[in-house]
């Protein structure tokens, strides 16, 4: 029963952390944008504008709620809910740190250590399309429908290359699909990014496309589609869409850190394990993972203000004709090297 309570508490904490990081990502996004464009950014609400996300949230909740009369009301409400649920579900298989020891018992800092961890993430990501499609279609607006179609075809296209690039990672981490095993195989500085730079490049490009971030933010390109699939949404429903996108960004940063940058591993972890108490080491490993995650969130924002948007045909060509063959070749080369040189 204690394991049940522990898991419930863990789920609740991860939920709160996801929401908190998503909220502060909106603040960080504007601060990073301001920094890159030599401005100051939001600084009115609280010291350094730190209360800005709170003010935004209150504003979102208090805005008038408009549901288009010609749209399907239930599907219109279902859209953002689905998008939020799928965004939050992905965090279930991520190992957040070394196991904790409470009252002589060892607890893994992971909601579910599934044998199929990475496939679970790909599966839930593929469900994320529905929130956008349902929302865009039920708005009964041409721009929203165009945005939804763009978003879903883009996400479907890049899922393939993403899955292919993960195969190479599975090959070099003893053939396990469990995220814990993948992280465990990268002890010290033995990070996958040094063995699989091509897979990393493909994966991070696909992650950008899956999160609908610039340079792949065509589903909501303001200059062509007004706001894309959430054009008709107002109030907190719009807030949920925007919020879920930041949660997706947080989770994909976590997945990138786990797959390619050793997760909670860092050089000297084994040494610390012999000197310090277990729980302290566990907390340090959580901290290290979050440092990596924050770096990637920053990286997402950095790219946003550096690279302009792609054209739609360029996007499709990149996904199908460049990334897809490249990832297949990467799998072949990795397999050949493993077979003939036996790493």
């Amino acid at each position: 029963m204690t394991i049940f309570i522990f898991k419930a508490v863990l789920i609740f904490i991860i939920f709160l952390i996801s929401l908190g990081i998503a909220a502060y990502s909106t603040y960080a996004e504007r601060k990073v944008a301001a920094f890159l464009q030599d401005r100051i950014g939001p600084d009115r609400a609280g010291p350094f504008g730190l209360l800005q996300p709170l003010a935004d949230g209150v504003k979102m909740f208090l805005k008038e709620e408009i549901i288009p009369t010609v749209s399907d009301k239930w599907l219109f409400i279902l859209g953002p809910c689905l998008f939020m649920v799928t965004a939050l579900m992905t965090s279930a298989v991520i190992p957040w740190g070394m196991p904790l020891e409470i009252g002589g018992k060892i607890y893994k800092l992971q909601v579910a250590d599934l044998n199929i961890g990475i496939l679970y993430i790909l599966g839930v990501v593929s469900l994320g399309v529905y929130g956008i499609m349902i929302g865009g279609w039920s708005s009964n607006n041409k721009f929203a429908l165009l945005g939804a179609i763009r978003a879903s075809s883009q996400m479907i296209s890049y899922e393939l290359a993403m899955g292919m690039s993960v195969i190479a990672i599975i090959l070099i981490s003893n053939g396990s699909l469990s995220l814990t095993a993948i992280v465990e195989s990268q002890k010290g500085l033995n990070w996958n990014v040094f063995y699989q730079p091509v897979a990393f490049l493909i994966f991070i490009i696909c992650a950008f496309a899956e999160c609908n971030r610039t340079p792949f933010d065509l589903p909501e390109s303001e200059s062509e589609l007004i706001g894309g699939y959430h054009t008709e949404y107002s109030s907190m429903k719009l807030g949920l869409y925007l919020f879920a996108e930041y949660i997706n960004m947080f989770i994909s940063s976590a997945v990138i850190s786990c797959l390619f940058f050793g997760g909670y591993n860092f050089p000297g972890l084994d040494y610390l394990n012999t000197v310090l108490p277990v729980n302290l080491v566990s907390l340090i490993s959580i901290g290290i993972l979050f440092v990596k995650i924050f770096f990637f969130i920053f990286f997402f924002m950095w790219i946003r203000w550096t690279i302009p948007r792609f054209r739609y045909d360029q996007l499709m060509r990149l996904g199908w004709q460049i990334l897809m063959p490249l990832s297949i070749i990467n799998v072949l080369v990795t397999g050949a090297v493993l077979t003939f040189f036996n790493k």
């Binding site: 599907l75 199929i116 593929s126 469900l127 499609m133 349902i134 479907i156």
Partner: protein
């Protein structure tokens, strides 16, 4: 005991959602209920400890095929007015063939002997490693045949899509 309760919840969910698929007037609702149905079947597979099959079911059916269905339904713009008048003949045929299938299934259940019950917690046949080894040793030929079939279908789709260019 716990797994029995979960089984009943999942089963009723899959049955109710399957009924809604059939009885919804709006095709979009049908598609959404079918997704719910697939997700509940995903739960059933997990309960049987068939993790690989479960996740493949989720990715392929709920994630890919239903997206295609949703695309089709959304872009076809189905209105009540544009719906042509249908003859009742297909309905009768569907009832007869469905009834025959039910009969065959019942007969199979009746005459065939079920193997003894093995608790899903005790087997690991559904794990990725086991399924992979089985596919690449005992079932290599059917597996390769299927992949050839898939490649043929993919090439066919590309050829069909490119046809209108010239």
């Amino acid at each position: 005991m716990n797994s029995q309760i979960i089984f009943f919840i999942l089963s009723s969910l899959s049955l109710v959602s399957a009924l809604f698929v059939v009885f919804s007037k709006n095709p979009i609702y049908s598609v959404m209920w079918l997704i719910v149905c697939f997700i509940s079947i995903f739960g059933h597979y997990l309960m049987l400890n068939a993790q690989f099959l479960a996740i493949i079911h989720l990715i392929v059916y709920a994630g890919a095929i239903m997206v295609l269905m949703l695309f089709t339904v959304m872009l076809l713009n189905l209105n009540k007015e544009s719906e042509p008048h249908k003859s009742p003949l297909p309905k009768v045929a569907a009832i007869i063939s469905g009834g025959l299938l039910l009969l065959v299934l019942l007969a199979a259940m009746h005459s065939g002997s079920l193997p003894g019950y093995i608790s899903p917690d005790l087997t690991d046949t559904g794990y990725v490693q086991k399924v992979g080894i089985k596919i690449f040793t005992d079932f290599l030929l059917p597996f390769e045949m299927t992949s050839i079939l898939f490649i043929a279908a993919m090439i066919g789709a590309v050829v069909l899509a490119k046809k209108e260019k010239h």
